[in-house]
Amino acid sequence: MIPAVRIQHEDFDVAAEIEALSAGRMDTGAVASFIGLCRDESGRLSALELEHYPGMAEAEMSRVAEQAASRWPLIGLTVIHRFGLIRPGERIVLVLASSSHREAAFRAAEFLMDFLKTHAPFWKREHLRTGELGPWVAAKAADDVAASRWER
């Protein structure tokens, strides 16, 4: 199984990605999906700007996907992360994991998100409704805790 890893500015089509993952696979019994969206933080934000490290972002996302594939019996994996200016309500990230049974799909999707947050080289910056450039978003300790619970 070769994970599909993409980094792009453009939006993605969730239904088409699910179809691509499961089409022609009669052994697939479950597809778990996670979609991360841009929040407006109670009306404060006009957009989030996502900076990334080209080259390493692809490499690290692929490494995390390979780890997931080695831990659970997956049939397919899709990971898409957007960069650039993203408005509230728009999609930022997509993780799809397919397997014969739901447990592996759910767990792999959750693992992937926990590790992407703490390992994939992306940084968010706030753009404010006032027209001003806001601060860089600070990393949350809770995200490190979420990632560390997968250690074994």
Binding site: Y53, M56, H81, K117, T118, H119, A120, P121, F122
Partner: protein, 83 residues
């Protein structure tokens, strides 16, 4: 070697990338940070809280005590906030 900076580390350093030739006694990532801090106010500001700065060598995450042996591209950046 090539150095690349991201997010607020890039802003504080004042450039996105540069080529440097550190002195021969700079052997690890931590040594490189210590040397960079001597290169001006921007660097000192960027690396003032060294423990929060993350590093990668040739697109792989590394720790401060990692040797620079053969490194082509070293990156410095804040903790990641994607997803």
């Amino acid at each position: 070697m090539k150095l690349v900076y991201f997010a607020w580390v890039r802003e504080r350093v004042g450039q996105a990338e540069e080529n440097v030739e550190p002195p021969s006694d700079v052997g690890t990532v931590a040594d490189l940070v210590a040397w960079l801090k001597t290169r001006g106010e921007g660097y000192a500001h960027a690396f003032e809280n060294e423990r929060v700065i993350r590093a990668a060598i040739d697109h792989v995450h590394v720790k401060p005590d990692t040797a620079l042996d053969g490194a082509r591209e070293v990156a410095f950046f804040p903790p990641m906030t994607g997803g």
